[in-house]
């Protein structure tokens, strides 16, 4: 009984982690059809923001939750203005350019901080599930993932900004004729996605070590979850994270974490092969 409670807890945590890792990329890909290969590095920047803030005595919660999304959103804004906006519509070129950005960011951070692992302390202690110890921070992650998905939903559905966003993504020229300035919308959307990635990076920094190349571990997983999720940003991310997170945790429990990762990637490849447009390409098509 206790062990199934522990497994369930780990599954939920795993799904929440996957949601956080994926949601920023899902916004950028789902709304702008841009394959942002610098996504992992945006997360890394969020982690470094958190680590640096903590080292300078900033309150741990502000360092983990508030600063990373803001900082990385601003960086995303700058990158969109300087690089991305020249490449709209050229999917392969944006892949290559964002790969260049990813390499550049790794190099830049290595130059500034060195190739060492920083660490960020975990602000919440552990608790017990039956006789097993569990991390209280996992609850933070679960809460954060719910807030991320929920907040994004509210933004998209209930605010003017969200409406403008959705309209522009569907038909930029029509939106322009209504007085909306598409380039500003693209810029904001990219910044939003970057900010969400930074949010994830900051949140995950106490768990993963903070190093310049930490982003690489996330890119493949995030991508494959976005593609598996399909065109609906929120529903797709939720469903795909749920499915893949479940598979990941179960296989990890039965064998090793590495095999769990591999199982996630393989399951996603199989799913994309059978549902080329992702889960929400076939089911729940009209959801957000």
């Amino acid at each position: 009984m206790e062990i199934s409670g522990l497994i369930a807890f780990n599954i939920v945590t795993g799904i929440a982690t996957l949601v956080l890792i994926t949601i920023g990329l899902a916004v950028i890909y789902g709304m702008m059809r841009i394959i942002n290969l610098a996504h992992g590095e945006f997360m890394m920047l969020g982690a470094y923001t958190a680590a640096t803030a903590v080292e300078h005595g900033v309150n741990i919660w502000i360092a983990l939750l508030i600063l990373p999304p803001i900082v990385v959103a601003l960086i995303g804004l700058v990158l969109e203005r300087c690089v991305i906006r020249f490449l709209y519509g050229r999917m392969i070129d944006t892949m290559l350019a964002t790969w260049g950005i990813s390499l550049g960011l790794v190099g830049l951070i290595t130059s500034i901080f060195g190739n060492v692992i920083h660490s960020v302390p975990t602000p919440v202690g552990g608790f017990n599930i039956g006789g097993y110890g569990a991390s209280g921070y996992s609850l933070v992650l679960v809460a954060a993932s719910v807030i991320a998905l929920g907040g994004l939903y509210l933004l998209m559905r209930r605010t003017d900004f969200g409406l403008i966003l959705r309209a522009t993504m569907q038909n930029p020229r029509m939106a322009a004729s209504l007085g909306i300035h598409p380039p500003t919308v693209f810029m904001s959307t990219f910044a939003l996605g970057a900010g969400l990635a930074g949010f994830a990076g900051g949140l995950l920094s106490p768990i993963s070590g903070v190093s310049p190349s930490m982003g690489a571990a996330y890119v493949a997983r995030a991508f494959i979850t976005v593609l598996g999720g399909g065109p609906a940003v929120i529903m797709g991310t939720g469903l795909a994270s749920g499915l893949f997170g479940l598979i990941n945790e179960i296989v990890s429990f039965l064998s090793t974490p590495v095999l769990g990762e591999v199982a996630l990637l393989v399951a996603a490849i199989v799913l994309i092969r059978n549902l080329p447009n992702g889960i929400t390409g076939r089911f729940f098509r009209s959801s957000l």
Binding site: I35, V83, F86, L87, M91, I92, D93, M95, L96, A97, W99, G100, I101, S102, L103, G104, L105, V106, G107, L108, T110, S111, A216, V219, A220, F223, I224, L227, T256, V258, E261, V262, L265, V266, A268, I269, I272, R273, N274, P276
Partner: protein
């Protein structure tokens, strides 16, 4: 009446001659250490060639040529340790990656996955291989008598030996001949392949997949074959890489390896073979150079180059240079083609 010798044939002959010259002359001018460094250039050039063929001619952008590069390297390592002789290991380092590519290709192309997904799936497979190879520390991870070694990899690999004579190891000069000879051979074979009907179909598929299909070609099959050939070539590159360094470790599966191949092709010019070789040499030289200085981080440097090229020079160096040159040349008088009188004016 068209010219008896096409410009393509001329450039092929020129490149082959230059390659042959390099093969024979380099050992006369370079010392052993430099020759060894040159062999590294050959290994990454072969990797870039595999990418150039697949991307520039077949129109398939793979983000995971490193997967086959790495499989080739590891296959060579396992082979040379188990056989004690490099000959079979070299052969296998082409066959096994080609077979794996065929399997993955079947899965992708017969599943009608779109081009962008090919990129992500190949990237994912490379990541899987990277993680798997990193987790093979421990005695139980062995193939035959070869231990996989986890993140430390497999050190102390024997260099190439003369076929059939396992104790006759090749020195730097011999290794250079083998490596450069392989590069030249692959270049010639690829050029030959592209001038056959098969090559024409592959290019046609890149130009317009729908039309190729409607004309009766099973495009899935041709993509599969192109992908498989490309995997085998990348594998050979990995084999030479392993023999060059005497070791192989999970870094052969790193995304930066795939990135290097793509950047090399981009810099040299998509749609050429010799451009990929030139690009690979340039990029590897930059990597070597930036590793020796501390002004700018290598990743930062390559990243900036990539971004600049994508935005400013998307066709790459060679096509841009040749376009520039043709703008500077005086225009020749329009050719009189024999059939021109029959042309119907629109």
């Amino acid at each position: 009446m068209t010219l008896p010798i096409s410009p393509r044939l001329i450039s092929f002959l020129v490149v082959t001659a230059l390659g042959l010259a390099a093969l024979l002359i380099m050992p006369m001018f370079l010392d052993s250490f430099s020759l060894l460094q040159a062999t590294l250039f050959v290994a990454v050039a072969i990797l870039a060639l595999s990418q150039a063929f697949l991307w520039g001619y077949a129109g398939i952008l793979s983000f995971g040529q490193a997967a086959f590069f790495g499989i080739g390297g590891y296959t060579y390592a396992v082979g040379v340790i188990n056989f004690g002789d490099s000959t079979g290991a070299i052969a296998l380092s082409m066959v096994i990656p080609a077979a794996v590519a065929a399997l993955l290709g079947y899965f992708m192309f017969y599943g009608r996955i779109s081009d962008a997904y090919v990129g992500v799936i190949t990237l994912t497979v490379t990541t899987i291989l990277y993680e798997l190879s990193n987790s093979t520390s421990g005695d139980q991870y062995r193939i035959g008598s070869a231990q996989l070694g986890g993140f430390n990899g497999m050190p102390g690999l024997a260099p190439f030996n003369l076929p059939g004579q396992p104790d006759q190891w090749l020195d730097e000069k011999g290794t250079w001949y083998v490596a450069m000879g392989a590069l030249l051979l692959i270049y010639i074979l690829l050029r030959g392949l592209l001038s056959t009907w098969f090559g024409r179909v592959v290019v046609a598929i890149r130009e317009n997949e729908t039309r190729a299909m409607l004309v009766g070609y099973d495009v899935r099959f041709y993509k599969l074959v192109a992908f498989s050939i490309s995997g085998g070539i990348a594998g050979l590159g990995g084999c030479i890489y392993a023999a060059w360094g005497g070791f192989v470790n999970p870094s052969v599966f790193a995304l930066s390896m795939s990135a290097q191949a793509i950047v090399s092709v981009l810099v040299g010019g998509i749609g050429t073979l010799v451009g990929a070789i030139a690009g690979a040499v340039i990029i590897q030289a930059l990597i070597n150079l930036s590793g020796t200085q501390s002004i700018i981080d290598p990743s930062l440097g390559i990243g900036i180059i990539l971004v600049v090229f994508v935005i400013l020079v998307p066709q790459g160096l060679l096509p841009s240079i040749s376009a520039l040159v043709s703008k500077l040349k005086p225009k020749p008088a329009p050719q009189r083609l024999g059939h021109e009188t029959q042309e119907v004016k629109p």
